[in-house]
């Protein structure tokens, strides 16, 4: 999958995560393998509770690994942060204005006010929120909040962008608009992305590769290359190739979803 000319950015080998709990240890992910090349957009799809968020949080070093290896390889510039997360629940700070939220990562790294505001302003322009720079999050809609969250991650310019169902809580129209925005932004920057989603269509539309996880405990089930041409738009999702690939992925995923649902009963 990864050609010799591409550098590897993320490696996960036989990653295991076991949560201790009162009812006994819970294996969240078992022997999960993943390799992501620099500049690749990888989507992870899997039934609810299979350990996708756990894996992402391990990547972000917000959770420790029980055994195995998970690593993000540093780039040429050591001052660049390794990863930033776009959280499923937005997680933008209600007590900071939009621009201060977007500038947060830079501020933590000691950038001057002028410098960080210039960068934040640029990103606000790119996600169409320049007018709302001095608003507080409580004055924004859900879609706008998620855009702030995405801009906060991108303004920090990390080696790897980790996104956990960023559009999961949005309505269908807002989601479609944001998917196009993400495509546009990503195709301009070609950042390495690990993107978790519940939606097969979203994964095929955005990703270079779709990785499918098994039901709890999560491990590798299958992976699909998405060789739809770029730049893509929402129209891409009405092509025959798109439908065929989505169907094939659903074929592989549905057993796992059934298994996950059966175990929840």
């Amino acid at each position: 999958m990864i050609g010799p000319e591409m550098t590897t950015k993320i490696v996960a080998r036989r990653a295991n995560k076991i949560f201790p709990s009162v009812a006994g240890p819970v294996t969240a992910i078992r022997d999960f393998d993943l390799e992501v090349a620099e500049g690749e957009f990888v989507c992870i799809v899997g039934p609810s509770g299979c350990g996708k968020s756990t894996f992402l949080r391990i990547l972000a070093e917000l959770e420790t690994l029980t055994s195995g290896e998970v690593r993000i390889l540093p780039g040429a510039d050591p001052s660049k942060p390794l990863n930033n997360v776009v959280f499923q629940e937005y997680a933008i700070f209600p007590w900071k204005t939009v621009i201060d939220n977007v500038a947060f990562g830079l501020q933590m790294r000691g950038a001057s006010k002028k410098e960080r505001y210039a960068t934040a302003d640029e990103w606000l322009g790119r996600v169409g929120l320049r007018k709302f720079a001095h608003y507080y999050p409580s004055q924004l809609s859900g879609g706008m909040k998620q855009r702030v969250s995405i801009a906060r991650a991108l303004a920090n310019d990390p080696e790897v962008l980790l996104m956990d169902e960023p559009l999961g809580a949005l309505d269908a129209q807002t989601r479609a608009v944001l998917q196009e925005e993400l495509l546009r932004i990503w195709e301009a920057s070609r950042k390495t992305v690990v993107y978790i989603t519940h939606s097969i269509e979203e994964a095929v539309l955005l990703g270079d590769r779709v990785v499918i996880m098994t039901a709890h405990p999560g491990t590798n089930k299958a992976a699909f290359e998405v060789d739809l041409p770029r730049p893509r738009t929402i129209k891409t999702s009405s092509t025959a190739a798109f439908a065929e690939l989505s169907g094939a992925i659903w074929e592989a995923l549905q057993d796992e979803v059934r298994r996950a649902m059966a175990s929840q009963l």
């Binding site: 942060p81 997360v85 933008i92 900071k96 990562g105």
Partner: protein
């Protein structure tokens, strides 16, 4: 109910006839009650009916008021009600339906308040406000010590300084301890049960012990301390709750974006806990006022609480009410000041 639904649905208010009908009903009921001599026995029932009619009237009036006047309309309602209350009180006591001895009419209370303000009690060497109009002449004759002496004779200043000093002396360490308890699991596990137990103890109950501890049991020490202790526990417990209540996803976001410990505290934990800290401060301020008035009832020669209790003892009820009014005013002003600070410190919570 049905009517108000219709009013809202059509975006229209009651018709003009309806308004006039209500005004008419109001007048007819009150005049009839007067003619039939019903006020004496049924003043409370008549006032209740009046109140209901006025509410109905105001509801129908609201829709007819232009949007830009809505704010003033709200203010008229908020100020109009207590005004009506005072007028009814005045009239009912004036007609000797209620005894002026126990319910002195507002006009006499106002006179008493004025009396208290302008007179200097030569025996106790006190006055209500400390005669602020003397400040310029004292300043020129005796300088700042003279002005300070004026402050010293003021009952209002005595209460205010006890409340403020006790509040700050209690709230600041309260916030600090609450932070530590919120952030450190071990400290929390050790202190939580004890704090919760002391928290429910009425702090006024430890006042006698405080009097024993301090070299001058009748001085300011025990009074300020009892206020401080009351504020301390309230603020510590709510600060801890505020820190514990921060959504963990914000802490994770802080970490993920590279915040160090100090930045974490400054940019995530402190602002995240502020709303609950402030609700604790509001409670503590109210409690501080209650505690200080209670203490002044029993053990003080100065303070607004003393003034109320003293005039109860000598049965000058209008001055007692005047004292209560000052306590109320103090509470309102202090709460308002805290609100202003809150809005400054937390501009995001509109």
């Amino acid at each position: 109910m049905k009517r108000s639904v219709r009013v809202e649905a059509s975006g229209q208010s009651g018709s003009v006839q309806e308004l006039w009908l209500l005004v008419l009903a109001l007048i007819v009921i009150d005049v009839a009650a007067t003619i039939l001599g019903l006020w004496k026995g049924f003043w409370w029932a008549i006032l209740f009916v009046d109140f209901v009619l006025i509410v109905m009237l105001a509801e129908r009036l609201e829709g007819r008021i232009a949007l830009r006047h809505q704010e003033s309309y709200k203010r008229v309602l908020a100020l109009g009600f207590p005004l009506l209350l005072l007028v009814s009180w005045e009239l009912i006591v004036g007609a000797e339906i209620l005894s002026p001895r126990w319910f002195p009419p507002p006009s006499r209370i106002a006179t008493a308040l004025w009396d208290l303000t302008v007179t200097f009690d030569r025996f106790n060497e006190t006055s209500l406000l400390g005669r602020p109009w003397l400040i310029p002449s004292r300043l020129s004759s005796e300088g700042l010590p003279g002005v300070w002496a004026l402050f010293q004779e003021s009952h209002l200043w005595a209460t205010l300084s006890r409340v403020l000093m006790g509040f700050f002396l209690g709230a600041l360490p309260g916030v600090l301890l609450g932070m530590v308890m919120g952030l450190n699991r071990t400290v929390r596990m050790m202190l939580d049960a004890t704090m919760s137990a002391v928290y429910v103890l009425p702090k006024i109950a430890i006042f006698p012990i405080l009097m024993l501890i301090f070299p001058n049991p009748f001085g300011e020490g025990p009074k300020v301390t009892v206020v401080a202790i009351s504020a301390f526990f309230l603020v510590a417990i709510s600060t801890m709750a505020g820190v514990r209540g921060i959504d963990p996803v914000y802490l994770q976001a802080g970490r993920n974006y590279g915040a160090n410990r100090l930045q974490m505290f400054r940019h995530v934990i402190l602002p995240g806990a502020l709303p609950i800290i402030f609700s604790g401060l509001r409670l503590a301020l109210g409690t501080a006022l209650i505690v200080i008035v209670a203490v002044e009832f029993v053990r003080a020669q100065t303070g607004v609480g003393f003034l109320v209790f003293y005039h109860w003892q000598i049965l000058v009820t209008e001055k007692m009410y005047a004292g209560l009014f000052v306590v109320m005013l103090l509470g309102v002003l202090l709460t308002y000041a805290l609100q202003l600070i809150e809005r400054r410190v937390m501009p995001w919570s509109e």
